[in-house]
């Protein structure tokens, strides 16, 4: 997904483990008396921040504003280019192609996200507890796919899935199970989910592991004295105490899933009857813009998608504030 996840999935910013700090930081600078330099050098602060500010305006604010403006207009051969207000949005939310993409991504997320985060949590609990050589190899191996571009991850799995020379098929053939069409209608979403899980489990595991490592050890000792086993310690102490990291990994995974693009795009040519141009909302927006030159409508879809992600993550953070231990 990478989208995310990564940009595409890939360039997505890694989450910090405790959002609490982030939300508190704006206040942190307000120490009484500690401002000497800051007050003297107002201009300096602005100067240092100005390159970032320029980029922020040019490559975040301007594209968003422009996408919004475009999305309010309609351009037709007959009618020319004119304001149509929210007509494109009306079309978006009644467009069966868009809605089927949204449904597909939702189904995908409901199954894949818990599976992947569960696996990541399991891995994190293991490497937190075990410090053998095997555990070290385990940690590195699981993290390795994160260094692989999503395109290459999808290419490798695409080959492995291949009905002509992929090992999966030769194995099931030799077992007498016949052909399994991993790239057919029935299994495509599962196959895509496997690629994403392979790529991102290790990354999430390391984030959760870092959070586990930050917990005070005395708590476990106390639990041990009280007779709690490893299972109980994990369920009752460790998992609740890293809930803020869990919430963050969940949020970043959701953002990545909503942008799902790279993997279906790569497998598109292999299975063009299964991966249609509207397979995911993001793929649909891309194809509308670059295959059909429907820039206005494409902008409406991009903007809706961006808005959903943005508002969704704010609400999500807000709703889980108590649970995630944000003060």
């Amino acid at each position: 997904m990478s989208l995310l996840r990564q940009q595409g999935s890939t360039a997505m910013a890694p989450p910090s483990v405790t959002p609490a700090k982030g939300l508190r930081t704006p206040m942190a600078g307000r120490r009484p008396g500690g401002l000497s330099a800051s007050t003297r050098h107002k201009g300096m602060g602005l100067l240092l921040v100005s390159p970032f500010l320029l980029l922020f305006l040019a490559f975040l604010v301007a594209p968003l504003a422009y996408a919004f403006w475009l999305s309010l207009r309609t351009s037709t051969l007959v009618g020319g280019d004119h304001f149509s207000w929210f007509a494109n949005y009306q079309q978006t939310f009644t467009d069966p192609q868009f809605l089927s993409g949204v449904r597909r991504v939702a189904v995908f997320g409901v199954v894949q996200i818990p599976l992947m985060l569960g696996l990541a949590l399991l891995g994190a609990l293991i490497i937190d507890e075990v410090s053998s050589k095997l555990a070290k190899v385990f940690r590195m191996t699981l993290f390795m796919p994160y260094a692989v571009p999503a395109v290459i991850g999808a290419l490798m799995w695409g080959f492995l899935y291949s009905p002509t020379f992929g090992p999966v098929n030769s194995i099931s053939n030799s077992l007498g199970l016949g052909k399994v069409d991993l790239l057919g209608h029935g299994l495509m979403l599962t196959s895509l989910g496997n690629i994403v899980t392979w790529q991102w489990t290790g990354y999430n595991m390391i984030v959760l592991y870092a959070a586990l490592q930050g917990l005070p050890r005395e708590v476990y000792e106390a639990a041990k004295l009280d007779g709690a086993g490893q299972l109980q310690t994990a369920l009752r102490i460790k998992i609740p105490m890293i809930s803020s990291a869990l919430v963050l990994t969940l949020m970043f995974t959701l953002i990545g899933t909503l942008q799902f693009f790279t993997e279906p795009r790569v497998l598109e040519k292999t299975a063009s009857s299964v991966i249609t141009p509207d397979y995911t909302p993001n793929l649909y927006a891309y194809n509308l813009a670059f295959q059909y030159s429907e820039f206005n409508y494409s902008a409406a879809i991009s903007f809706s998608l961006g808005a959903v992600v943005f508002i969704g993550s704010y609400f999500f953070l807000f709703a889980t504030r108590k649970r995630s231990g944000l003060k």
Partner: protein, 300 residues
């Protein structure tokens, strides 16, 4: 795959009784080995497949070597195919990752330091919008950015890939947190007392302290650019400017269209292997910096 075995690891209570402790140890090891095998599978396949010629690729067992000598031929083919376009893509990728990475790190350092140590009008507003910006999906920005850049004739140039990736809000956040936690005001104040100007303080007092954070930001932004697919795909249609990700995908598409009856498959495979090697090496060598980036929020 491994999920079935998963719950077992925690299912063995460590009550201290020997047999159950040993059993749970074995279960944990089995789970780890199973997961290692699964996560290594594509890498193993890639290495094996890169040593096969086109015929062997289709006719021999996928997970074992057949004609290792073909690896060198594949490599030679890879670097010379179509006037060596693979090398050109590799060079492009290095330029994109290098320029964007260094640029983004420089911008993020200045801004993060300013957010942490100076007060200026609009500071809090800008910082909260920066936190929001981390959540704006990059793919939603790519298409409007493309349209805007096409108005100033910058699409289909290297700048179209480099400029948008100079913006790295998370990097700014990371530097800010790091500055606040590791650079006391007193240190800066002392340098000022000695008569150092603001830039001098930044250059010779702040930067050396911030080095680990800068390496982390640099790593994340370089790898982000190296792996990026959507942005260059949208921005470029001249294949001379492609980075590796877009180039390999175009080869793969070409191979698919010709339904495997040509040598492009072996090129895609060898090309994928060569493309991920530098990343994995950097990765293993610079592990502690990676972890630095992932744990920064929990620094005490």
């Amino acid at each position: 795959m491994t999920t079935v075995a998963a719950p077992a690891v925690t299912a063995a209570p460590a009550t201290g009784r020997r047999p159950s402790a040993a059993r749970s140890r074995v279960t944990v090891n089995v789970v780890m080995v199973a997961m290692i095998l699964y996560f290594l599978l594509p890498f193993w396949w890639l290495v094996v497949a890169a040593t096969k010629d086109n015929d062997a690729l289709f006719s021999t067992a996928a997970l074992w070597f057949h004609s290792p000598g073909a690896f060198l031929i594949n490599l030679q083919e890879l670097f010379t195919y179509n006037d060596g376009e693979y090398l050109r893509w590799m060079g492009n990728t290095a330029v994109y990752a290098g320029v964007s990475g260094v640029g983004a790190t420089a911008v993020a350092t200045l801004a993060g330091y300013a957010f942490a140590k100076y007060r200026f009008p609009g500071r809090n507003l800008l910082f909260s919008s920066l936190l929001g910006a981390i959540m704006v999906p990059a793919t939603a920005l790519a298409i409007p950015t493309y349209l805007l850049l096409s108005k100033v004739a910058l699409t289909n140039t290297m700048w179209a890939v480099i400029l948008p990736q100079l913006l790295n809000p998370f990097g700014v956040y990371l530097v800010r947190v790091y500055v606040q936690e590791s650079l006391p005001d007193e240190l800066l104040e002392a340098a000022r007392m000695d008569g150092a100007g603001e830039l001098r303080v930044l250059w010779s007092v702040a930067l050396p302290t911030l080095k680990p954070a800068l390496v982390t930001v640099l790593l994340f932004s370089m790898v982000g650019t190296w792996n990026n697919f959507f942005l260059p795909l949208v921005m470029l249609n001249n294949d001379k400017l492609y980075p590796l990700t877009v180039g390999l995908q175009s080869w793969y598409e070409g191979a698919m269209i010709q339904s495997g009856a040509n040598a492009l498959f072996t090129l895609v495979i060898a090309g994928s292997l060569v493309a991920i090697l530098p990343l994995i090496v950097t990765f293993l060598l610079l592990q502690r910096y990676w972890r630095g980036g992932l744990t920064v929020g929990s620094l005490k």
